[in-house]
Symmetry: C2
Subunit: 415 residues, 2 copies
């Protein structure tokens, strides 16, 4: 029988509620939420009521996260709090020997990332970003194809977060903290859904690293338009509607990132992986891989032949090339965001149980979240290139696998 993992959850907002909805489906003898915490009693009451409706064992309740992270009946802590608070809470949790599962978001300074790194290094427990998109089916398909060498040598990736959430500017949303970030800041504020899977594929921090970036922001119109038409009056937003960031890696790969959350458009993470032998694009749900995808000859108007490469639908690749994690999951998908919340929480809790490093570690958190403050700097300086610090202090030059076993996202495949 598996050892029980006891979780504390700090922050009971919408993301906390969604994570809990997924955790209710976990076997309770394996993973149990034993403690919850929020400064807001209404949120606590709401969650307790939902838990009761699910016949979930009543957890301990805290209003001060410092008491929760110090408690013996908590093995690990999930921290879906605001972008301005979760890193400090994670530091404190690790200082008590608790694994920290932080939510996605970007950093405001490099120093808060260095502090997180030093906390993990000095306590020997892991800080894992619960970046569910690392467990997306197409992202893991691409990881698997990459590790099998089917893209050849990797050359370029793109990614992004293009999701119209301008409704957060409406009056009934009460101008939450995320709206304030977009009112005051201007940068790649939400990098990790895009960069997480790409960083794993490019082995960032394990034989490769981010070197520099440039960022460029468009004018800002979408939020103000939404605020005005929903009756909030004229509000000035600093955040450009489209922020484009280009990253260079130590091994010569480039990455293009797009952030756009204020314009009406269908959702996209603009995920693309390209190498010397092939390419995969999520937007078209297709790939072209040498030796798998068709190539044919056509004739131009002057009668001369030319070669055309064709796409293979991703659906045709799943059966053979799904990542091992998805091969075991695809017949029985359950949990939030199409199942990826289940996968990321299983990965985290499994590593807590085995007391091994998590597949997304504190160096990943630091490198990915650094994009936000670095992109703000670049935009402020007219798209000047800015350098990433090496948060690993040189450890990145080794191609190590931080999390061996079933949840590995770094595994070095044979062949």
């Amino acid at each position: 029988m598996k050892k029980l993992v006891k979780l504390g959850m700090i922050g009971l907002g919408p993301r906390g509620e969604t994570l809990l909805a997924t955790l209710y489906e976990f076997p309770r003898e394996e993973v149990l939420v034993t403690a919850i915490c929020d400064i807001n009693q209404e949120k606590i009451d709401r969650i307790l009521k939902i838990m009761e409706e699910h016949n979930y064992p009543k957890p301990m309740v805290f209003h001060d996260y410092r008491e929760l992270v110090a408690h013996d009946e908590v093995d690990a802590v999930l921290i879906p709090t605001s972008w301005n608070s979760h890193l400090k809470i994670a530091e404190e949790a690790m200082s008590h020997g608790k694994y920290a599962g932080i939510e996605v978001g970007g950093a405001s300074s490099l120093d808060e990332l260095w502090r997180l790194v030093r906390a993990a290094e000095s306590t020997g427990v892991s800080c894992m970003m619960l970046e569910n998109c690392c467990y997306g089916r197409n992202e893991l398909l691409a990881l698997n194809l990459a590790r099998k060498g089917l893209f050849g040598e990797l050359i370029h990736c793109s990614c992004g977060y293009e999701h119209d959430i301008s409704e957060m500017c409406r009056p009934e949303k009460n101008h939450g903290i995320r709206e304030m970030h977009n009112r005051r800041r201007n940068g790649e504020l939400y990098p990790t859904h895009g960069i997480g899977p790409v960083a794993k594929i490019l082995r960032i921090n394990r034989g490769n690293r981010f070197l520099t970036l440039t960022s460029t922001a468009s004018k800002s119109r979408g939020f103000a338009r939404e605020a005005e038409r929903s009756g909030c009056g004229r509000i000035v937003y600093n955040q450009g509607d489209v922020v484009t960031t280009v990253i260079r890696c130590a091994n010569g790969e480039t990455i293009t990132m797009t952030h756009c959350i204020s314009l009406p458009r269908p959702y996209s993470r603009d995920f693309k992986v390209q190498g010397t032998k092939g390419i995969l694009m999520e937007d078209t749900k297709a790939a072209h891989i040498e030796g798998i995808s068709p190539t044919r000859e056509e004739i131009d108007v002057a009668g001369n032949p030319y070669v055309v490469h064709d796409w293979t639908p991703l659906a045709d690749l799943y059966e053979e090339y799904d990542h091992p994690v998805w091969k075991g999951f695809r017949e029985n998908v359950t949990g939030g965001h199409g199942g990826i919340d289940t996968l990321v929480l299983k990965a985290f809790t499994d590593c807590v149980r085995r007391h091994v490093p998590t597949p997304i570690d504190v160096y990943d958190c630091a490198a990915w979240m650094a994009i936000t403050c670095l992109s703000e700097e670049s935009i402020a300086m007219g798209s000047a290139p800015v350098a990433f610090p090496d948060f690993t202090d040189g450890k990145w030059i080794e191609e190590s696998d931080c999390c061996p076993g079933p949840w590995s996202l770094d595994e070095v495949y044979e062949g």
Copy 2:
């Protein structure tokens, strides 16, 4: 009856041959190739033979372009020569009062562009880049949607040239001049198929202009791989496989450009137009436009609703929103590259006949081609931002339409 336009063609390589193949279908009493020129007699003989097969009237033959551009029986000159020669030839043609139709490509220096601009200004004739992609159906659909205001205020575009032509590194291709450009240079070497249509949509040089760019190059692998596997041995190429360029415009729009011609992948010009009310993407052949495209509500795992924007296939928009140029053409498409060679040559020859400015003028040529040498500078300086000169000397601040009439690409629509 329309006045006959007499064309001279300088440069009888593959592009010259394709342009001629399209011109053979034009009414010969309206447009006639009266002169051809090449330094290579074999190419001349080849073209004369093809012309004879088409029962085409035999043109005058020149080996020195200076004689052709000076000849009275030539009204305008098409110049599909190499990137290193066509601007100088265009200058000379204009100095003789002949309209110059140059082919696509990028510049090596800003000075050669200034010389081209001054030649057009001092002679009163036009230099038009025969950028056929400006006449692509989806590009013109987007232009039409933009002018009708259906994207709202324009915010961001993307474009590129992603086309595997690594076969030019094979020995039988004899290492042509384009291969040498890619061996020695590193930059956005082929910007205009992508940027032309985008520049028209964003009214570049007519109320807007390019301000700055940054460029970032990936490592270079594709060409060397192709050279080696086709028996050319080990050749070092400087050109990165993927070059990403980000442009900022005076009115706050941003443009992302991708150049990739050395990796196996299906063709794409990565064309995207995005505004406050909608988006169009060529890769997915779909758009989302407020008021036209569907929006629906879904429920997340915690039971909370969220809004989903859906795509409308471009095919559903053609009937109503095809650009006037395509509305008249779509039932009877003929000529090279799916008809766009026909359209760009009709536009050029019609302006020559009416002696009016061309829809793509010398300022467009300069701004678009400047991207190449500026991107080389940026890459050489670690992706530092570099500034575009204002080739219009301030004329861009007026929202003028350089080419009124049926071929306009700048037209200010009502409403």
